[in-house]
Symmetry: C2
Subunit: 189 residues, 2 copies
DNA sequence: CGAGGCCTTGACCGCGGTCAATGCCCGTGG
DNA sequence: CCACGGGCATTGACCGCGGTCAAGGCCTCG
């Protein structure tokens, strides 16, 4: 839980009282490797911070998975598209390792916005960070070849690229595992 | 300017005093067709709301343009990636028609966050809206063929698809004008 | 030792890219 | 009023990369 507090303090200032309140609003949640934080069709009912572990976000279209984001220690986890309007999600969030989360429900988050002085500001700054990284990934689809997107993945997720199997990396890059294999081969020549 | 106030009021509640303040913090700005709101290498120094007109966001990689977003009446315009950390942009924002903007500088926006009661909340809700639409577009690259992305464009931008030349639509879809032409032909058979 | 999951490799196919030519619309100037 | 030119959409021919299907190798784990 200290990790959560530290992470929040790295974004905005909060008082000791507010630290206590935040401790009450969040609860711990554990996911085993392979377990889902959110599955297509469900409503995303909480946002969370990753304490330890690793998750991936993906979409599924008739069996074809597209992994569009990885989150690890210190990252926020939420499908805003479902969480905000409380509508069924079109996305999936899955733990790739045993993962410890600090989760907050929608209602408790609204309390945080109201009762913590810098609450709204925290919410704004947190989403701004994620927004920028998603936008970079979107623009990479317009600017970069699959090979460049693979290299970009290695840079962007340098710390976790060893913890992710190739076929998830391939789906992140937007190609099939066979093609990623060929690209890697070409690159080493 | 009334359009700006109405748009803000559709998101959060503001007092009459605050309406006056907001009127001072924003300034009008006009762009001629083809003119740029922001060009690669510049720092994005203001955020804006579109009163009338149409803009496109695009990235440029050795001559190849990728149009990743269109904004029209009532949409906010800003490259957060450059605006927030005040670093040179990698993106371009260009008017496709004569366009009227209500613009606010970085410093004035910070004043708005501080001095308008629901300022932070406004900022959060505004970016949340854009975030969700960008995320839908990103996931479309994973789920959909070029043909489906074209049809998705027609739905998402139904009101403006007639105002945008085909080669910008093609660059939005992520293909060349020739390919879009072939796709359109196939679809009518 | 056998089974299953994952990565790799090969052969073939199809879509989108590229290059080039044509047609169309429209604004401009002789 | 018409001739010209530039910008844009279209079409055709050809190419190459990534998809698909299938097989083989290499782990780990029971």
């Amino acid at each position: 839980m200290q990790l959560l507090i530290d992470r929040i303090k790295s974004i905005v200032h909060i008082s000791d009282d507010e630290v206590g309140l935040i401790g009450q609003l969040f609860s711990e949640r554990k996911l085993k490797k392979g377990e889902h934080f959110l599955q297509e069709g469900q409503i995303c009912r909480s946002a969370a911070l990753i304490g330890t572990g690793l998750v991936r976000y993906y979409v599924n279209e008739d069996g074809n998975e597209g992994t569009y984001y990885f989150g690890s220690e210190g990252d926020f986890v939420c499908d805003y598209e479902s969480f905000l309007p409380r509508t069924p999600s079109t996305k999936n969030i899955q733990a790739l390792e045993d993962t410890l989360l600090f989760a907050i429900s929608y209602d408790n988050l609204q309390r945080l916005y109201r009762e913590v002085e810098a609450g709204e500001r925290l919410g704004r700054l947190a989403i701004e960070q994620v927004f920028v990284s998603i936008l970079q990934q979107l623009s990479s689809f317009y600017k970069d070849s699959p090979e460049l997107r693979y290299q970009r993945f290695l840079k962007t997720f340098a710390g976790i690229s060893q913890r992710v199997p190739q076929y998830y990396i391939a789906s992140y890059v937007g190609i099939k595992p066979q093609s990623l294999s060929r690209i890697r081969k070409r690159a080493t020549l």
